[in-house]
Amino acid sequence: MLFYVARRLVSGLVLAVMVTLITFLLLAPSFNGIVGNRLGSAATPETVAQMKAQMGLDRPLATQYVDWLSHAVRGDLGRSYFTGIPVRDAVEQHLGVTLSIVLVTLMLTVVVSVALGVLAASKGGLVDRAVQALSLTGHLIPNLLIAIVLVYLLAVKSRLVPATGFTSLADDPAKWAQSIFIPVIALLIASVAGLTAQVRGTMIDELRKDYVRMLRTRGVPTRSVVLRHALRNAAGPALTVLSFEFVAMLGGALIIEKVFAIPGFGSYAFDASLQGDIPIIMGITVFAVLLVVVVNLTVDLVNGWLNPKARIF
Amino acid sequence: MTSLLEVNDLRLSYPGKGFRARPAEILHGVSLTVAEGETLGVVGESGSGKTTIGRALLGLAEPSSGSIRFDGRDITHVGAKERRRLARDIQVIFQDPYTSLNPSLTIGDILTEPLIAQGTPAAAARTRVADLLERVGLPEDAAQRLPREFSGGQRQRVAIARALAPEPRLIVCDEPVSALDLSTQTRVLDLLIDIQRRTGVAYLFISHDLAVVRHISHRVAVLYRGDLVETGPAGPVTTAPEHPYTQKLVLASPVADPVEQERRRTERRKLASNAH
């Protein structure tokens, strides 16, 4: 077990190095433009070259990357070109904001989707059709429109919650809850639509299996057949979908963050990229990749616990 | 009688499942022969390796050692091109008539496939299809229909027709009647016997069912956990076997007669308690 986790973590680290290397190489052609932007109207070929030398961008790419990597493995991701803030602190802070929204959304997604999916699969008929219609509607409307309409209805029209801005959980839990309310709902609609369809589908398949009939002939109560047995077997595929949704949300929250003026991970990445703040861009990539690696490992471990046949350790 | 097929000390292993697992040996040195026009029945229970023998002959599984000779030629490890040429001589009928036919192709397409692969012109292949359908007792218009329009027994007839198409000299029959109903089973077996009498094709007939093997085989080989334990003429091997495993197998197969079955059961239990 420990060996398995260690092996996965090592291969995850290798992936992370690969991803940062590729990102770095993809960014390399735009170094001139980035430096030029920074210099603004003062940019001439000479000043650009001078600036590049000053920033170390004129060295061979391999040297630059290895230099960055050797600092990165020691936890030093450098400082922002523009603000001079240590990259690690800045990214961690913004990531915290996004995670507080995304994690709440995910938890609600699980609760709502499992309830709706199980209900649709086990009751059938009208309930099922209603759930299907609901899930389809969630699919149909682009996220962007949902966010804007929600802002308009809840914040601008009825002034129930603040339209924009973010208060951190540590500062004021009540205000935090208010400030993330619309963003969470906006993200929730699409993710619930996706997961509900998944849970419904696999639950239907599970409930048709032989062991369900067997349990019923033993006099096991329906509730236990559905929730204890069928749901457990349906949970694996649903969890995988959930992990995809999580990864998608990390970046997908960007639009929501912009609409609601929330200083999150996505919008921070966006601003840094527009400015060409390479240390920040690289830092964001590192954090994002490590999150993906950890999430995938967690999903595999939980799947192994759920499904004894899939246990690889 | 010359042997058409000669299998010598065949061993086969599958890579072990999981990380750093040792490979599992399925066949521990199996030797058998099939003569021209003969049926060799291979009987065994699940895990005996009987299906693996068939797959090795067909090139669907790679032997780890030993040799397979067909018509005097070594075909143990032939290349892809040579293997395709062998399709003219060695064919197969699988157990499951539902998954052995591509559901999206018409019966006609399924039957012309081996012919066209052998370079038969399309027109000639089509005439041949009518001939094949007639031979396995299917209506002529079957060629335009899809597999799902046919029952299990009829599909198995299609599979037989496909195997016959290139006029092979050996057909590997892997449990061809196990998925069929009792009455259909007998009819399909009789069709196979009839075809053999007319064309002189040899069968390697793999089955778990002693009664079926007894019905169609000239000789029978009994396989137990990757080893051949007994080989000989069908009658003696399947009714008065010498090896204890074959004896156990014969006594365990129930007969459709309450009185005889009760006698057999007593005998089986006696044998079992003696063994302890």
């Binding site: 990539t285 | 395709r84 692969a117 029952s151 094709v201 778990h208 009664a211 079926v212 365990a252 059961r265």
Partner: protein
């Protein structure tokens, strides 16, 4: 299930099936109209999409030359709207085709050739580690916001999904027997891929395409909403952002692009769903765990017996909506301690009859008439709660496939304990002790170890013993065994039959044995009922039926049994040269 071939059905083409689906027709029409509008846009408007004039800033809808008015830069809203369609369509085309090209080709090759798969897996897991949309943002310095370049990258990011879909389908179809048969027929690999593998991949990939297109459009408009890309590229996202800023004064400027974007994505999703229905058949419908409730019919002078089934009929709805009977008027009775064999070929309705007695028929099944009484008590129409009490204590069931009847996620012991507690209300500790005793009773050598095993860790024969242990745990008066030995080896079959016989004697229970195997019947049954096409054609004692079958169908079946006397006697026709007969013809 049914032995007879279904009536020949003409194959209808995919297009034909889609045309009959109103949802598909509506969604496709909307899409088509939008795309055409985008293409003929320049003909419909008098201004170019980037043409701005100070006079027309926020011009009212209906202003001459500005049908939908002007925006805050003085550009024609209609012209920009129609040009934005083209941007969306091009985005969808680029994103989708890159994703399909990369994903499908890698999936075909990686799925078919085991040796290449490892490398392909690694490559795509690398791509999947790139955090989606975030990468598009991070690479802004590279793409400079150009939507075509962005969509190429997005297509690559979408490709792992397509790869996995294709690879799974290919691996699935590759192990089908018909691919083995094609290989044995002498087909080359490229030919097998083209002829047999591609057809399996086609459907799901077409469905995925609709959703990929939707995703591409969504991402493109999302990015342009944020202001990525030059202002000269007309896009719904940029228009929505502009309209959002003027939401209070000119709400319509927000409505038009939103409506158009919403219509495009919605019709893509709806069209994708319609495609799925057309390609994969009707959508899965859930099974209700709900009792069947027929009209119980009690006749005056009921025959006595432990189990009495009278005139039972079961029907299933056909696609056309009518009911088709699979069991029509079955009557049988079973005394305490007796064994009745219900014999028949596939499709005869024997399993359906057994399920009806247990009341576990599939939800769509309808019991149209009849009565089933256990110990004089009518079972049909009984409340699910009362039925559950009955199932746990009086009736028990042993299935055909031991493996699929155990929940793969729970240990053998857990499942036995749960059944025991449900039926007898025992404490966990008592139930555990009883379960272990039962495992020992059914002949499992190491009960403690098996108790802790998961189903996939034990053999089929062991699994069947476990299921028998669970069935007899509550000392039922009636045990229904549905082909209990069909999936097992002959030697194991003999042991399981012995076990059933011993347990029956020990507990004095009645046994209803459903089987197609006359040998099994001869071994264990006191009486036999022969079923054919939903009806019982003959009932009698085992000896009677075997020695003097009354019905021609029974006689025919018994004639088909291969016994010891059917040994092949003719010599191999080796003297006939292999192809001699062919040449004579």
């Amino acid at each position: 299930m049914t032995a007879q071939a279904p009536a020949p059905r003409r194959r209808r083409s995919l297009a034909g099936r889609l045309l009959r689906d109103p949802q598909a027709v509506a969604a496709a029409s909307v899409l088509l109209i939008i795309v055409v509008l985008g293409l003929i846009g320049p003909l419909l408007t008098s201004h170019g999409p980037n043409e701005a004039s100070l006079d027309s800033i926020n011009a009212d809808p209906g202003t001459p030359g500005y049908l939908l008015g002007g925006d805050r830069s003085g550009q024609d809203i209609l012209a920009r709207l129609l040009a934005s369609i083209n941007t969306s369509v091009v985005s969808a085309l680029i994103g989708t085709s890159i994703a399909l090209l990369v994903g499908v080709s890698a999936g075909l090759v990686g799925g078919y050739y085991d040796r290449i798969r490892g490398g392909a897996e690694w490559l795509f897991s690398l791509i999947m580690t790139f955090p989606g949309l975030l990468l598009l943002i991070v690479l802004l310095p590279l793409t400079k916001g150009d939507f075509k370049v962005t969509m190429v990258i997005f297509g690559v990011l979408l490709s792992p999904g397509v790869y996995r879909l294709t690879r799974n389908l290919v691996v699935g179809v590759k192990n089908e027997l018909f691919v083995d048969a094609a290989r044995v027929s002498g087909l080359s690999d490229p030919r097998i891929l083209r002829r047999h593998v591609l057809f399996a991949v086609r459907g799901p990939v077409i469905i995925a395409t609709a959703f990929l297109a939707g995703a591409s459009i969504g991402v493109q408009s999302g990015l342009s909403f944020l202001g990525v890309g030059p202002a000269t590229t007309p896009s719904f996202g940029a228009m929505i952002a502009g309209g959002f800023a003027e939401l209070y004064t000119e709400p319509l400027q927000f409505v038009w692009p939103s409506l158009m974007l919403g219509m495009m994505t919605a019709s893509l999703v709806l069209f994708g769903n319609a495609l799925r229905d057309a390609l994969e058949g009707a959508t899965r419908k859930p099974v209700k765990i709900k009792p069947v409730r027929p009209e119980p019919r009690t006749t005056g002078d009921a025959p006595a017996g432990l189990l009495v089934v009278e005139d039972l009929a079961i029907a299933y709805p056909t696609p056309s909506g009518e009911l088709r009977e699979v069991v029509s008027g079955v009557s049988l009775s079973l005394d305490a301690g007796e064994t009745l064999g219900l014999v028949g070929e596939s499709g005869s309705g024997k399993t359906q009859t057994a399920f009806a007695i247990l009341r576990v028929l599939p939800a769509e099944a309808v019991v149209t008439r009849g009565s089933i009484r256990l110990d004089g008590r009518e079972i049909l129409g009984l409340k699910e709660k009362d039925m559950r009490a009955l199932r746990g204590r009086s009736i028990a069931y042993v299935p055909q496939e031991p493996m699929s009847n155990l929940d793969p996620s729970f240990t053998v012991g857990d499942q036995l304990v749960e059944g025991l507690r449900a039926a007898k209300g025992l404490s966990r500790k008592e139930a555990r002790a009883q379960a272990l005793a039962l495992l020992e009773r059914v002949g499992i050598a190491e009960p403690e170890r098996t108790f802790r095993c998961y189903p996939h860790q034990i053999s089929g024969g062991m699994a069947q013993r476990v299921l028998i242990a669970g069935a007899v745990a509550s000392r039922p008066v009636l045990l229904i065994a549905d082909e209990p030995t069909t999936a097992l080896d002959v030697t194991v079959q003999a042991e399981i039959l012995d076990l059933l016989r011993d347990l029956q004697k020990e507990l004095g229970m009645a046994l209803l044995l459903v089987t197609h195997n006359f040998g099994v019947v001869a071994d264990i049954c006191d009486r036999i009922s022969v079923m054919r096409e939903g009806q019982i054609v003959e009932t009698g004692t085992a000896l009677e039926v075997f020695r003097e079958p009354a019905h021609p169908y029974t006689r025919m079946l018994l004639d088909c049994v291969l016994d010891e006397n059917t040994v092949r006697t003719d010599p191999p026709p080796a003297s006939v040269p292999a192809h001699a007969e062919e040449e004579q013809r």
